[in-house]
């Protein structure tokens, strides 16, 4: 039954948990005459179908949530980056060089913990629509980060960081953030409704 619980957990990103339970029940009943592949194909088909329905029926709500989530994530990431920059400057002034562990922590925060936290933030606000919001957030977050970067670095702080402005395509590696977004959102959901 472990697979069924994972399926239920995934499906709860596109529908109410009670409905996800009955859908998994239907798929388990259908699986009796089929293989495990059929079960998982149908779990993912259902996720995609319901996620698409959410996008079509509530585009405004989902876009607003996605932009706010991307703002939260970008704010955390930039705050941490600025903190490291300032502390790094202080250490450099004292003749100390930041070690590998500092860079590892910074990287971990920027590429995993910040999007994970943003996913949790989204999960508390998009009950049953987590998948659609996370997909849209993955698409809009490069634009949001590029916009914040352009405002902060070019306008507010040009003297120090003008060389750090990057073209938009450089932010597309953030597509990876979809995974921590969804994990965070589903974790937030799980804490509210135990499976």
């Amino acid at each position: 039954m472990h697979n069924a619980k994972i399926a239920e957990w995934l499906l709860s990103s596109v529908m109410a948990p009670a409905l996800a339970r009955t859908v998994v029940g239907d798929l388990l009943e259908g699986r009796a005459t089929r293989n495990a592949g059929w079960f998982w194909v149908n779990v993912f088909q259902t996720m995609v179908g319901c996620g698409w329905r959410d996008l079509k029926e509530h585009p405004g709500v989902i876009l607003r949530l996605a932009v706010r989530g991307a703002l939260v994530q970008s704010t955390i990431a930039m705050t941490v980056a600025l903190f490291f920059k300032f502390t790094g400057s202080i250490f450099s002034g004292l003749g100390l060089v930041p070690g590998h562990s500092s860079w590892f922590i910074l990287s971990l925060v920027l590429v995993f913990l910040a999007p994970l936290f943003a996913g949790r933030w989204i999960g508390r606000r998009s009950s049953g629509k987590e998948l659609a919001v996370c997909v849209v957030m993955t698409v809009v977050s490069p634009f949001v980060l590029a916009a914040i970067n352009a405002i902060v670095i070019c306008c507010v702080w040009p003297a120090i960081n003008s060389h750090n402005t990057a073209p938009l395509w450089l932010y597309w590696w953030e597509i990876w953030f979809f995974i921590p977004y969804l994990l965070g959102a589903l974790h937030a959901r799980q804490r509210r409704v135990p499976i």
């Binding site: 529908m15 009955t22 859908v23 239907d26 259908g30 149908n42 088909q45 259902t46 179908g49 329905r53």
Partner: protein, 110 residues
């Protein structure tokens, strides 16, 4: 009152639910559609449609008892509301009016 517009697949789902009476849930609805309409809808399409029909007030649902073959999960039975029956009847009346005087090969009016 303006009748609620139904899509092609929505009509098929409503008719399958109507045929199944009190035993309409995900698995039986899919089987009924496969047997009678010759389609094999994906569960995703079916559940999305059922939820949409519930939102429109054409279907209502109730939970059955948990069963072991479903890993202790309950069935979610659906049935037509009065509005659902009216919507199906209205659509079928429209079809019949459109078919009057039209002859289709290998098709006879019931």
């Amino acid at each position: 009152m303006t009748p609620i517009a139904l899509g092609d697949f929505e009509q098929i789902v409503l008719l399958a639910v109507l045929r199944l009476k009190k035993n309409a849930y995900g698995v039986t609805i899919r089987e009924e559609i496969a047997t009678k309409a010759g389609r094999d809808p994906s569960p995703g399409a079916l559940y999305t449609t059922i939820v949409r029909l519930e939102d429109k007030g054409l279907l209502k649902s109730r939970f059955g008892d948990p069963t072991p073959e479903r890993g202790g999960r309950a069935k979610r039975f659906v049935e037509l509301t009065d509005e659902g029956i009216a919507a199906v009847a209205s659509t079928q009346r429209a079809y019949r009016r459109l078919l009057q005087g039209v002859s289709l090969p290998s098709f006879s009016h019931a």
